[in-house]
Every structure is written in C-alpha cells, then in structure tokens.
Symmetry: C2
Subunit: 151 residues, 2 copies
DNA sequence: TTGAAATCCGAGTTATATGCTAGGAATTCA
DNA sequence: TGAATTCCTAGCATATAACTCGGATTTCAA
C-alpha cells in the first residue's frame, strides 16, 4: 500500500469541505460522520492541513472549518504531501538528501525518479474542483442508467 | 516513502545479476558485498524472487544465482510486485477487493486508480536491459567529462 | 572422502510507524 | 453560563519493517 490513512482520510476530508465550499463552515463532527471516520483521529490530520494553510478554522460553538482557497486552487498533491510528506519511493531522490555515495553509478535511482515524477504529475494535476466535477458526472450517469431501466 | 527495502534492495540485487547475465552464476555473498547490503537479509528476498521464477539457483559450493530470462524480458514491475505485492495506493482499487460499500459515489477512488495506473505504467515499461543501457550511457558520459577536463 | 562454500528454511528479535484514544485547555455563540 | 466547538500533548496497542540466528541440505574440489 502506498498511502497511509493520513493521506487517504485527509483527501476525503478535504473533498467533503470542497462539497460544502461557499456555504459556511463545517464541523469535524459532521465530516467524520459523513465519511464514517474517527473524529478524534481526523482532528490530528486537519491540524496539519490547517498549519499548511489549506483550511481555515473558526473556533467555538457553531465553528468549524472551510477551505481557505477555491477548490480549483487546491491540488490533491498539496493535500497528500502535507499529510504524508514527499512521495519519494526511496530516500535518495529527496531534495535535501545528499548525492548517493555509492562509488558506482546508481542506476536504480533513475527508476525511483521516474516513479516519483509520474506520481507527482498525476496528483499535482488534479484539483478538488476536478473531484467535484467527477462527482457530478458520476451522479448524472447513474441517473441516466436509472431512467434506462424504467424505459 | 513508497517502497520498503524489499523492493529497493531487491531491484539492486536483480540489477547486479543482470550485469553478470551470460557469464555464470553469482553468489549472494558477492551481490551483498557489491551493493553493501546484508547477505542474510537478501537471502529472504531472493527466495521470493526465485519462487516467482525470475531467478534460478544452483546449490552447493561454487553455486549461486542467475536470471532465468534475458534482462530484456524481466521488467522492474515484476520484480517490485513480487517483493512488495501490488502497488495500490488504497485497498479499494485492488482486483480482489469488493466494490466500495460507501453509499455515495466514491470520488477518491478515481484518484487512487490514476496513481496506480501511472506507477504501473512506469515500472512495467522498464526492463533490466534498460537499466544496463542506462548504466553504459552514464559511464560513457562521465568518461566524456573526464576527457573535457584534460583538454 | 571430507570440508568448505553455498543455497535453503523457519523462527525470533528489535525498532519504528501506524492508527488510533484520552484528557483537558481555550474559545465562542446562544 | 453552558454547550459546542477547535486546539494541544501525550500515550498506547498493534502491525510492519528490517533484520538476525541456527541449522539443515547440497555440491564442488582438493
């Protein structure tokens, strides 16, 4: 498995906030209930996301969270990297890592770089808005199917 | 980190065998020494690779391992999946997994599928032979640089 | 023929990461 | 004022990762 629950739950959480975007805040309790996840666990995850500036919070009763930018301006990559750290398949391809000290030419490193690039390419090109669009498309398709059944 | 040492060391190990391909067997001791890895640990890894049919072994003194196919016929994907299992970012996109039971349309699943496809696309398109070619290319480039220095 | 070099096998061990839970402080609205 | 909420730190149970160990088996070569 590539991702831990941090990234997986975190994205679901952010998607939930995207659905709500534009109409006020949403409490963690509500998010946890809608996605059937542990509220206290999500608490930890959203703390990171908030510190990264992706959501803003309002404390106190009737408080909650909301996206701090439009869904189209938040990528899946930002969310996942915030929660999981950089998605490198091996340490040696991380930015701050010193060059491989191996005497010979490190060929496997080229592989890790290609894998990393392709993952980043995918997650950086998808925004929360794309997910909302997918949702609407899927919904429409299913309703179409239903109508077919009855005809 | 996406890959554990199983996949990372395993690929290095197989690359070492690819370098040796065509000129007899290579002992684990030799592989471990060349790649600076624990021999006893590699023992476990190569057992899987052997059971998967990627290498064949010769027991006893002067024994060792060799690739059971040409380097061009063994992909990085086969090696990594043998050692790591399927590289799915989430359980729900695995073949044998039942459909998401979530009542609503699962939009995050689409993301995991795209990530998985892109990773598989990379690792299944690279063979050990490609790695050998990369090695020779890098070697040639470095020698070119050296000559430049002296000119 | 014997011993060294190797593969094979299963179990055990240690450290780290994962996936949470608990308790309580601080804030804010009704 | 109290209920609902975010915020913060710590702890904990389990699983996984990354090895190690002991020994059995096989085979070549001196």
């Amino acid at each position: 498995m590539i991702l831990s629950t941090k990234g997986r739950y975190g994205l679901k959480m952010m998607y939930e906030l995207a659905l709500k975007y534009g109409s006020g805040t949403m409490s963690l309790k509500e998010i946890a209930h809608k996605q059937q996840l542990s509220e206290t666990y999500l608490e930890q995850l959203i703390a990171h996301v908030r510190k990264a500036g992706l959501v803003t919070s309002i404390r106190g009763a009737q408080g909650g969270y909301e996206l701090s930018r439009k869904p189209g301006e938040i990528t899946v990559g930002e969310i996942i990297r915030t929660l999981e750290g950089p998605l490198a398949p091996s340490e040696c391809v991380l930015e701050d890592e010193p060059e491989c000290t191996r005497a010979e030419y490190c060929v496997t490193r080229l592989i890790w770089e290609k894998i990393m690039d392709s993952i980043n390419n995918v997650i950086d090109s998808i925004t929360l808005q794309d997910m909302l669009n997918d949702y609407h498309k899927m919904k429409k398709n299913r309703e179409g199917e239903k109508n077919d059944e009855h005809s």
